[in-house]
Amino acid sequence: MTVSFKFDSLQYLDTDGAVVFEPLPEWANDAAILIPLYRTMVETRAFDAKAVALQRTGQLGTYASSLGQEAIGVATASVMTADDVLLPTYREYGAQFWRGTTMAEILLYWGGDERGSDYAGPRGDFPISVPIATHACHAVGVAYAMKLRQQPHAAVCFVGDGATSKGDFYEAINAAGVWRLPVVFVVTNNQWAISVPVSKQTAAETLAHKSVAAGIAGRRVDGNDCLAMKQAATEAIDNARNGRGPTLLEALTYRMSDHTTADDASRYRSAEEVDAHRLQDPIDRLRRYMESRGLWADAEEQELHDATAQRVEQQVKVYLDTPAPAPQTMFDHLYATLPRAFDAQRQAVIEEK
């Protein structure tokens, strides 16, 4: 017998930015809250377009675009403090930018330079985790350390829909439940794990359902609705910080881009499918909402786009102007102190012309 139950998805705004669910959170009329969210989403998108262009012109390595899913990271990060810890996968630049990681750092990272993960932003944040879901276990460890020290902080771990098929993910949510840890697992469900759709990842009705087996809170949210995303993240992170346990937050979105610049999504999904999701755009939606409330106007939009373009160019310049590290630096952070056993190899690198 199959047990069936529903996880309703939280959504305040329809695709036109009209309110479809009330009451709205108090801050939903506060320009001082909304504009920074909007600005970071716009910056993230401008950065993203630039990064793809850099890759296409041979100035960046393979790059994973975050196009269309900016609201999830930005809204979640807006709820975090500097003492909380972000454990991102790739494609969560919005969260990283909000927290203080620079565009130049992300470019350095995809440009093949470890210094890109030595973030200016919160020094305790984890670097981008490429091996899928492996960092979900790190989030458990970070949250355990916070709980042991009775700190009112949270670990926030981003994974994708594909990650929910991995043992790491199950092991992490299971342990988080057992230890009632201050951790939030944000599942950015963008429907595609490279070429494999969610329907081939799992027979579970939703990804939020997986919270049930772990005995933790589960929640679904429209990840393209910035207001809903911020509200859901607020509740989940607040619960984590205040001893009310972990949450699995499934954020629904759609990967508008190829998986990476090395991928061609037209091999496995139709242009019609992608086009249909353009209506869902999180940036357009928030802008329409703000305009409808008189919180945003065309002049401000133009000003923001100009300022953003300048900022991106300036960050690209920082990236392009950063010379490659000296070859022997590959030894510099291997251990706290390089063991004598590797002195000869380090010297050989220096001497090789």
């Binding site: 470890e114 458990v140 092991e171 057992v178 251990y335 706290a336």
Partner: protein, 326 residues
């Protein structure tokens, strides 16, 4: 000074570290209430509480991954994998994260964890409980791999591993967990990592080994001594990074070298040691380096286990082979 076994020395070192530094936590399967299946963590939970001596869900990848997160966030986790045979789910965390977190963040985040696991054959254990795969870990850049061979070295090297600012895989030869007792002062004194220990001085042949095989190797040295052959015995202890200098100095003196390990032969850590001797000590050698190892077979179940493990006789014969080489 109390006489203790190797596993008791591990327990003493863990208690010492936990008592000295409140950031030290112990986690693993059955390490808490049960005190570990080998009793290595006995009494720790009673003394230091459930929050610091943590019974984990049964998931080795989780244990290692949690330790990575803890270590990067300021704790000093000592994770136990119940047997090396179950360590492989944790390999991803060691290879993809623990060993490279410092490098990939330019030192912003570090990973001072210790991953302990009993390993090796010779106790007629069930399937998957007897292998020696230390070379898998030694191959990973950024890790330390430490193997004690006596109660005193277990105590001193484990403390050193806990103090070390980088990840250490600490492999405990379970065959000698209880066969030898030794006076070990619980004085908090760590032994140096990254150096070999010369267990016995000799002039005719160098016997290089680690872990439980030090016992057969010492017995072989005794047998050789009866035949008038003076064998030097080196316990590598930290197999990665390798203290090749001590081995080269010895080989320069003796001109002959036999490397002994339980692990399978091809790609075993003996191959690395042998290669480095060739690269840097070829002209000292009077005979080719010999290896006495487990075979390149699946570790047999215990009816044939003794035939798989290097014996005293095989070590003695290999030493004679180096002496008879012309």
């Amino acid at each position: 000074m109390p006489e203790v076994t190797l596993v008791e020395a591990v327990n003493t070192a863990l208690a010492r570290a936990m008592g000295t530094d409140e950031n030290v936590v112990v986690l693993g399967e059955d390490v808490g209430v049960n005190g570990g299946v080998f009793r290595a963590t006995a009494g720790l939970q009673e003394r230091f509480g459930e929050a610091r001596v943590i019974d984990t869900p049964l998931a080795e990848n989780l244990i290692a991954g949690t330790a990575v997160g803890m270590a990067a966030h300021g704790l000093k986790p000592i994770a136990e994998i119940q047997f090396m045979g179950f360590i492989y789910p944790a390999l991803d965390q060691l290879l993809s994260h623990a060993s490279r977190l410092r490098t990939r963040t330019r030192g912003r985040l570090t990973c001072p964890l210790v991953l302990r696991a009993p390993f090796g054959g010779g106790i007629h254990a069930p399937e998957h409980h007897s292998e020696s795969t230390e070379a898998l870990f030694a191959h990973i850049p950024g890790l330390r791999v430490v193997i004690p061979s006596s109660p005193a070295r277990a105590y001193g090297l484990l403390l050193a591993s806990i103090h070390d600012p980088d990840p250490v895989v600490f492999l405990e030869p379970k065959r000698i967990y209880r066969i030898v007792k030794q006076d070990v002062a619980d004085d908090g004194h760590a032994l140096p990592l990254d150096v070999c220990f010369v267990l016995r001085s000799g002039t005719d042949v160098t016997l290089v080994t680690w872990g439980a095989m030090t016992h057969e190797t010492i017995q072989a040295a005794d047998a050789l001594s009866s035949a008038g052959i003076s064998a030097e015995v080196i316990d590598v202890a930290t197999i990665k990074p390798l203290d090749i200098e001590t081995i080269l100095e010895s080989v320069e003196k003796t001109g002959r070298c036999v490397i002994v390990h339980e692990a399978a032969r091809s790609g075993g850590w003996g191959a690395e040691i042998s290669a480095q001797i060739m690269e840097r000590g070829l002209l000292s050698l009077l005979a080719p380096v010999q290896r006495v190892t487990g075979y390149d077979t699946v570790m047999p179940l215990f009816r044939l286990e003794d035939r798989y493990m290097p014996s005293v006789d095989r070590i003695v014969q290999a030493a004679h082979a180096t002496l008879g080489f012309e």
